[in-house]
Symmetry: C2
């Protein structure tokens, strides 16, 4: 972990932090392409083969049955079911507000009627990771925006447990949102199934949701065959803390991020050298007590505590373009106004990242590895498209005929010019 | 060219039409990856090498100079400059209307402040094809939405002419919109330059614009390093024509589409068998007179005239998901209401596709090869992102603490639970 003044960082140190643990797709490309090819050609048979190989279980029917869902309800603490229900309501609230902003368009210019109509994508595949742990929250975050957008078919794929079952909380979350089907298949083979379709699993139009490097590489390859949200890498947080920030809270949020993944990256930028020292000490205290100590220690590799004035901290954050940004300063809204790139922002000392992970209502599927420079997180628009239209009459066609004919002929497209000219004869 | 009743199509015929001439990336993948690797490693040197190899010219400095732009103005007919100016105004009008719809969001739920702020992507690379012909219209269509969105740096790359110069109309269009720089480089090497940066050409955040199969494959590979608009294939139109449609107009629009590309696809669906016969005859009359006859004849391979009632025509159009959709029926708006997938729609007999290609104001960079199922065409939102935010106080954190703690612990993320619990102590 680098601890240093921002302006004293060497170019190498800055690049290491900014580039963090960027995924290297190239190495695993051949492996992933082979699995995808198999799924495309052999369908369910390939799914069975790879599920046995990678998940160690034999599965006859990937589709989760009504009975399995009932069983899930009976095996899970009621407190968890209730939490899923409540989280669902909050996530619905925010995504409905997003949806209310989206409207058709109908305007007129030079006598030409112009506009666009909004349509939902029809078939959605949500990838929900599993394996080491299961993430019912990701079911909510991927399916609810699609529901609000009005998508007709929403499918979940998620790896089976070691017993060849669906993870109970995952099944319950899918059932509560009300999806078309849940399939017990994960990894590259699940992405292939959603992209090409198999006997059991339908081909979808868009695949969303996070996954490990294999899943992400598979999404990159099938992009074009289907749409995807974006390529997600290890999770990250950047915290801007001034002298008013509570060092304990900062340290706790550092730990919460680092426990995700040995490749996670946690950057603290602070205006106070004293605070930096305090935060560092608290982090190491907390690590000792942490349940996921081993993971957290590894995540220190791409983490840092950096010191600078507030402008330098903001500038560094914009260079880093974090997935999660916490602003623990006197006037967090003022800082937000200067933020150019981030997935989701957490303002003030009572807004730790975990609230957005589960229950504030914003989405937790967010761009990582600098992709916040160019992409929003998952939102209702991920599942919508806009079809433009135009209507001219003879008069308004006359108004622009010269432009069309001149440019078409300049580009050598004489048939284009002719289609306009002959209409005006 | 298939001429048949929709309900009499065999499965093979239908699949041939629906799948049209889908690009096969895999074959050329190794070639494209090698060029990209070279550009990444050797920068400008690689650009020079490949420009000599593929464009047959030696270029010392890829950046277009002020003098070259002045020269372009002196070498082009004033009528063309004027047409570019007028087209620019119309395209600005429509994209500004799109922009007016996009607003920040700020709401409250359970005491939690939630919202999102809109930010423009900073650095944009627009690829403008060249080679056989040059497309100043594509300069307007790719740069204007980025300008309206508020992008700070907008770069154009376009292949050099045989004399190693920039195409005059392309330079003028870039100058009129006001871009940061224009580079005389095309093909895979241009995409590599924009994705990785070279000594001359800056790395951008998003690459947009159409290109041939090599350019498109390169965009697919660099996706993740940068964002892209989508993968564009050969151009296409589907025309829905009822018994009121003018057969001559339909035939002219067929020709206008087919002249683009030997791989283009033109589908006519009509409610009238008599009309189908008439249209077919007119198409073959027009082909005889067409300037680009050879290209048009080749484009018949993936084209068709199909007959069915209006519902069948609409259903087929939704299966096909065309880039361009012309509706030449008695009540085109009624048909539009039933359209689920299309890039841009042209309503009524005086709205041929070329008006949208140049001057109605809508964008001509549109999804092809069924990608209209999942994607809008280029628009201001291609160049925007939304950053979500949330602000809680101690009270509102208390309101959702149970949900967060329960779900975090269910997912094994104990540090997440702790970050909330300790704040409420």
């Amino acid at each position: 972990m680098i601890i240093k003044k921002i302006k004293e960082l060497t170019k190498e140190e800055e690049e290491k932090i900014i580039n963090r643990n960027k995924a290297n797709f190239e190495e695993i490309l051949p492996t992933v392409m082979e699995i995808l090819k198999d799924v495309k050609e052999k369908g369910d048979e390939a799914l069975k083969y790879y599920t046995k190989k990678f998940d160690g279980v034999e599965i006859e029917d990937f589709k989760v049955t009504e009975e399995e869902i009932e069983e899930a309800y009976n095996s899970v603490d009621y407190k968890i079911i209730e939490a899923i229900e409540k989280a669902k309501e909050n996530i619905y609230f925010f995504h409905k507000k997003q949806m209310e902003q989206i409207k058709d368009l109908n305007v007129k210019n030079n006598g030409i009627i112009l506009g666009q109509v909004v349509r939902a994508i029809e078939k959605v595949g949500c990838y929900v990771p599993g394996g080491r742990a299961f993430y019912p929250s990701t079911v909510l975050m991927t399916t609810i925006p699609a529901k609000v957008a009005g998508c007709r078919e929403i499918y979940i794929t998620s790896p089976p447990t070691k017993e060849g079952k669906g993870n109970p909380a995952t099944l319950i979350a899918g059932d509560i949102v009300g999806v078309s089907a849940i399939y017990k298949v994960g990894g590259v083979q699940a992405i292939g199934a959603l992209a090409y379709g198999t006997e059991t699993i339908p081909k979808v139009d868009i695949i969303v949701g996070p996954g490990n490097i294999y899943v992400t590489t598979a999404k990159k390859i099938v992009y074009g065959e289907v749409a995807i949200d974006f390529l997600a890498g290890p999770s990250e947080v950047l915290i801007i803390a001034d002298e008013t920030a509570d060092s304990e809270f900062v340290a706790l949020d550092f730990i919460a991020q680092a426990e995700h993944d040995p490749n996670a990256s946690c950057i603290i930028t602070t205006t106070s050298e004293k605070k930096a020292e305090e935060i560092k000490n608290k982090i190491f205290d907390e690590i000792e007590k942490a349940e996921r100590k081993e993971i957290i220690l590894k995540a220190l590799e791409y983490s840092a505590i950096l010191i600078g004035d507030l402008e330098e901290c903001i500038e560094f954050s914009n260079k880093y373009a974090p997935e999660h940004l916490e602003i623990l300063t006197k006037n967090p809204e003022e800082v937000l106004n200067k933020i150019k790139h981030a997935g989701s922002v957490f303002l003030g000392e009572y807004s730790p990242v975990p609230v957005g992970d589960y229950a504030s209502g914003t989405n937790h599927v967010l761009p990582t590895s600098q992709f916040a420079r160019m992409s929003s997180g998952l939102n209702v628009e991920t599942f919508l498209k806009k079809i433009t239209f135009q209507k001219l009459d003879k008069e308004s066609l006359k108004n622009i005929a010269d432009i069309v004919i001149t440019l078409a002929e300049a580009e050598g497209l004489f048939g284009h010019a002719e289609a306009v000219r002959r209409r005006l004869k």
